[in-house]
Subunit: 262 residues, 2 copies
């Protein structure tokens, strides 16, 4: 089973404990929890239940937000939590420009400096940091916006840093195939969902695999050609559709659509 559920997909309906049970019930082998849900259930209890359900942790969401005041403490805590959970990577949503700033290039320099500042702790904990390029329309949330840019940062930062490839964020990129090939050995996470042609919201209108226009299987072939053998993690933010549905239906649909379209 190569399928993992990012817990954001059903976060409006279920607690983490319910999501863990749901994954087990629907034959989904991996889980990628969000830190607020882990905190609500308790870190050790989360680990215990995930292990008991036989699930593989495929990532912890999220570190990053390097423009915020408490960036350092928060990222050090996140690294420790990822270590306890046995996550193969801490996913970084790197943050945007500080309030009132228009200095995007400066924000990007700060992001790289601040990843460098927490990287020794990540290495010591054995927790790789996954820079996730976010779609350019989400630049105010994350100022790393292409795989090429993320890999340039990885090159500069050295060992212990890689990338998370989310088809939603990168599918439009004319240089995608070349950059996925370049990412060999550094793909720490692979996330799937779909791009709806009539997308109505910049953040919370992702589609279920098969409902949109992304050639998900094509991207899968590219990441596999680059050596990736990890889980396919479904991450769907969908305020008006999937977050309003019966969560068992959502998870069952993820499972079926993954087989058909991914």
């Amino acid at each position: 089973m190569q399928l993992s559920l990012n817990t954001a997909t059903v976060r409006k309906q279920w607690t983490l404990a319910e999501i863990i049970d749901g994954c087990a019930r629907h034959g989904i082998g991996g889980i990628s929890p969000w830190r607020d849900q882990v905190a609500a259930l308790g870190l050790k209890e989360s680990k215990k239940r995930i292990d008991a359900a036989g699930l593989t942790v495929t990532g912890l969401c999220r570190g990053g937000f390097f423009a915020e005041k408490n960036w350092k403490d928060d990222n050090l805590r996140a690294i420790e939590e990822a270590h306890v959970l046995g996550a193969p990577a801490l996913i970084l949503v790197v943050g945007g420009m500080p309030e009132g700033s228009k200095d995007l290039a400066g924000a990007r320099e700060h992001i790289q400096e601040r990843i460098a500042a927490v990287l020794p702790a990540a290495r010591q904990a054995g927790v790789p940091l996954a820079i996730e390029p976010l779609h350019p329309m989400q630049v105010t949330r994350a100022a790393v916006n292409t795989l090429e840019q993320a890999l340039d940062m990885c090159d500069a930062l050295g060992p212990g840093v890689g990338v998370a490839v989310d088809v939603y964020h990168v599918w439009w990129d004319p240089k995608l195939a070349a950059q996925i090939a370049r990412a060999r050995g550094r793909i720490l996470g692979y996330h799937i969902c779909d791009w709806l042609p009539n997308t109505r919201d910049l953040f919370n209108d992702r589609g279920m695999m098969g409902d949109g226009v992304i050639d998900i299987r094509g991207i899968r072939e590219q990441v596999e050609a680059a050596g990736f053998r990890g889980f396919h993690e479904v991450e769907i933010f969908s305020a008006e559709n999937w977050w309003k549905r019966d969560p068992d239906e959502v998870v069952r649909t993820c499972f079926e659509r993954h087989r058909r379209f991914c």
Copy 2:
């Protein structure tokens, strides 16, 4: 006067004839009309009124949409109209994937082939074609999404093709500065507006200059360093704000904000 008004900015309130008068009244020296408005007023009448008002045509919007059935005839007509209007460029919004397709790379190949197919007519008419990279969130409307990709196409296509640089579409790009420098001699249009941090719509929620987070003056310095000396064309699609306001207020605000922020 370096300011031009893209007629889309007040298209919900005014006809082209009214926009021409409005530009003259508010001291705006350039105009970039849309073809549907030109057709409504009549091509020769449009040209006559624009000349009488002492306005410079800074572009014609738009050719392109190469995935549509009538792409060839429509682009040939647009080239002829641009020629009659004395437009320095026909702006291409290149179109996306055909209905039902997920082959983005294939769509991009078709776009380049189809620009090549109409390029001889454009050269003969003395109408440069401006490939406008659109924001990646608008990939279904235009599958050219970075300045780098547009310039790669220009390199392949040869003389008679350049780019339109719209700050809204390109400001997020980590490679923007380098690609603007590369565009020297090929910048056929320069469009301004702003990116609202709380953007609510993928197409029609652009901000007035100064209301958002784009360092417009910084991009201006880059295009000028690349040799650009043309007009700054304000193009604001704003269903819920500027399209609902008094058009004289809109144009006056464009004028004032251009001085302050651009």
